[in-house]
Amino acid sequence: MNNKQLIVTSNPHIKDSTSVEDIMWTVVFALVPAVLAATYFFGLRALLVIAVSIIGAVITEYIFLKIRKKEIVIDDGSAVLTGLLLALTLPPSIPLWTAFLGSVVAIGLGKQVFGGLGYNPFNPALVGRAFLTASYPVLMTTWVLDGTSTATPLSYISNGELIEIWDLFIGNIGGSLGETSALALLLGAAYLIYKGYINWRIPTGMISSVIVISFLAGANPITHIFAGGLIIGAFYMATDMVTSPVTKKARWVFGIGAGLLVAIIRLWGGYPEGVMYSILLMNTTVPLLDRYLKPKTLGVAE
């Protein structure tokens, strides 16, 4: 018996096989229905925008890792996911160079300047979108459906017009690429919750508080759920692991807080939509929430 070969490391000696890459690629996979819905409603151009955004994100990630002399981990799925999520928040008619620029900013300013995966305080895709919203407000609010200009459901609501809930639910309505089909987004989200890759407390808190506030304010809660970016924001952006809290109580507060901000911005603010800013604002509270909303250790009195 040759003893020299034995590995002597500490416990545990076995390990769960799920990796960071598995999680990232599974989230990408869960967004496939949304991509298909976007292609169905907005045509092949939707695919083009998505592809350009992903390519921009991956190239930026590569260049930054190269400059920082880090291991090239562009295959971990995280840059692809950021590019994809950003694309899904863009209008279908957006020029391709704008989508590209947005994803460069998302990865560069949103992620790599902080030290790369795991170190960014803000959701990178939303940083990219915030940049584009501030820089190109007209391009970011031009909505097209079936070749004609249209308004988004939230602006219809602002104007007091009625829309069909069913169209809202399946996504047959103007809006960003991936925001429109709640059905497609929820399919993927259900799978991610089943896998345990997104935490249900954040979307539950966020959507519930939007329902409560819009109901109290006399607005129709159903349209507020399915119109705009609430579903994609609540299930795919607010739940971003890196930029959301780790404790259960903090997740509730984070979700409810984000929902309150959405409702306040939509109902009383200057923008028809508030999901992006509400999540970015709540991102800043994460260290504080985790610090003060620790779980009670077993055996410690309340």
Partner: protein
């Protein structure tokens, strides 16, 4: 019947099927045994035999005046070849007796036997026999059993729990004991309950051991005060804090003992050792082990003489299959990796697991993505990612706030981490640094 469980925890692959239907067999009598003096948590022992001396089987080799200690005995008859420092399963070198076995295997006159009938023994007498037999917690902690059973007068114990959970993957010794020796377990349990003055007791078993559950249920059919409780198969259900919480809803206070909330927990194999000591006069010199894993030719369950080098037991299980990469004593979640097959078994050794390289967990740490799988799995409700970070960046003074000493070192956080971070390693360092600061 409802199935009990605790919050959080993990569901690892169990690999129990490798040995769960394998009846316990006797290992071969070793030619040489290595018996470390320190095989318990407590005061060190003084040797009472000398190099060159002939000892009989069951003869006491070392003891102390201290109460919190358990003597060690010869598991075979033979000659003390030497008393020297030998590397034990913990990885440390400890003073040990090396006994060269002779042919006779002559037993010492039963020093544990009393003239009284077992039924007539007083609690104090039972506790004395248990101490004299050198019995320690056989789940792996190796705390002297007689100390656990000596309840201070100001404490009232309501429940006596026998832990048959065996939540570590691969291991089947408690499972086999419950299948094969249910009545001995109950006898041992009743002796311990009498010794500690406890009226009510239950045996906890996970629902992946249906035969053990049914055999133990028949064994307690006529016992009014002992019941069988079934638990969900989940790691670390066998941790006493999780077991008590799941069964009784009580929490062992931070830094306290089960005794503080009226509970005593002992392991299944410990009950058998008590039975053998009191009813048969045998000191703790033999116990059971599961020898298993993909690197073992014929995975099996064995009775072995304590002090047998692990190579003898591996050989009994058909030797290695393929190239062994890691040899673990105990379970794969909390056991310790060994440098050599020459290492001796000790009282707490319940498993030998041999893994091939492909199955050995590698902790090639990548950045934490704050997925919180460690937080959502920790059975103590700690924040492993935070504790690990504070330790890694030497912010030791903040560890106390995050209850670092409450960590039971079950390995769940490292097991579940998708970024392959050695969370438990860092937390252990943190625990040591935190202790240093308190001194």
């Amino acid at each position: 019947m409802s199935i009990l469980t605790f919050k959080q925890g993990i569901h690892p692959e169990y690999y129990k099927e490798l040995t769960k239907e394998k009846p316990l067999k006797k290992a071969n009598r070793p030619k040489e045994v290595i018996i470390p003096l320190q095989q318990h948590i407590g005061a060190p022992l003084d040797s009472i035999v000398k190099k060159g001396e002939h000892v009989k089987k069951y003869q006491k080799l070392a003891d102390t005046e201290s109460f919190v200690a358990a003597p060690v005995h010869a598991s075979v008859s033979g000659t003390i070849k030497s008393i020297e420092k030998i590397r034990t399963p913990s990885g440390q070198k400890t003073l040990s007796f090396i006994i060269k076995a002779d042919e006779e295997d002559e037993e010492v006159d039963h020093s544990l036997k009393t003239n009284k009938e077992v039924e007539d023994l007083s609690p104090k007498e039972i506790i004395e026999i248990i101490r004299e037999a050198g019995i320690v917690g056989l789940g792996g902690a190796m705390f002297p059993t007689h100390v656990k059973l000596s309840v201070p007068e100001d404490k009232k114990v309501e429940y006596f729990i026998l832990n048959g959970i065996e939540c570590e993957p691969f291991l089947n010794v408690d499972n086999r004991m419950m299948i094969e020796r249910s009545s001995d377990i109950i006898t041992g349990m009743k002796l311990m309950m009498k010794a500690a003055g406890v009226k009510k007791g239950f045996i906890g078993i996970e629902d992946n051991k249906p035969r053990a559950i049914s055999n133990m249920k028949s064994a307690v059919k006529n016992e009014d005060n002992i019941e069988i409780k079934v638990f969900e198969t989940k790691y670390p259900q066998g941790g006493e804090k999780m077991l008590i919480k799941a069964a009784l809803g009580r929490e062992v206070p931070k830094g306290g003992l089960p005794l503080d909330i009226g509970v005593i927990v002992n392991n299944i194999s410990t009950a058998v050792a008590v039975f053998e000591a009191v009813n048969e006069g045998k000191p703790l010199t033999e116990r059971t082990i599961t020898v298993t894993g993909e690197g073992i030719m014929n995975p099996t369950n064995l009775y072995y003489k304590i002090g047998t080098p692990i190579k003898d037991l591996i050989e009994k299980a058909g030797g290695f299959q393929g190239e062994p990469a890691k040899i673990i004593l105990g379970g794969p979640m909390t056991g310790s990796a060994q440098q050599s097959v020459e290492v001796p078994t000790i009282k707490g050794t319940s498993g030998i697991i041999v893994l091939h390289e492909k199955s050995v967990a590698k902790f090639d740490a990548k950045p934490c993505i704050r997925c919180a799988r460690c937080v959502d799995s920790c059975p103590m409700y700690l924040l492993p990612l935070k504790l690990s970070d504070l330790s890694q960046f030497e912010r030791y003074d903040e560890l106390e706030k995050y209850d670092v000493q409450s960590c039971i070192e079950c390995g769940t956080c490292s097991y579940i981490c998708p970024a392959d971070r050695p969370l438990l390693d860092y937390i252990r360092i943190g625990k040591m640094e935190d202790m240093k600061m308190k001194k």
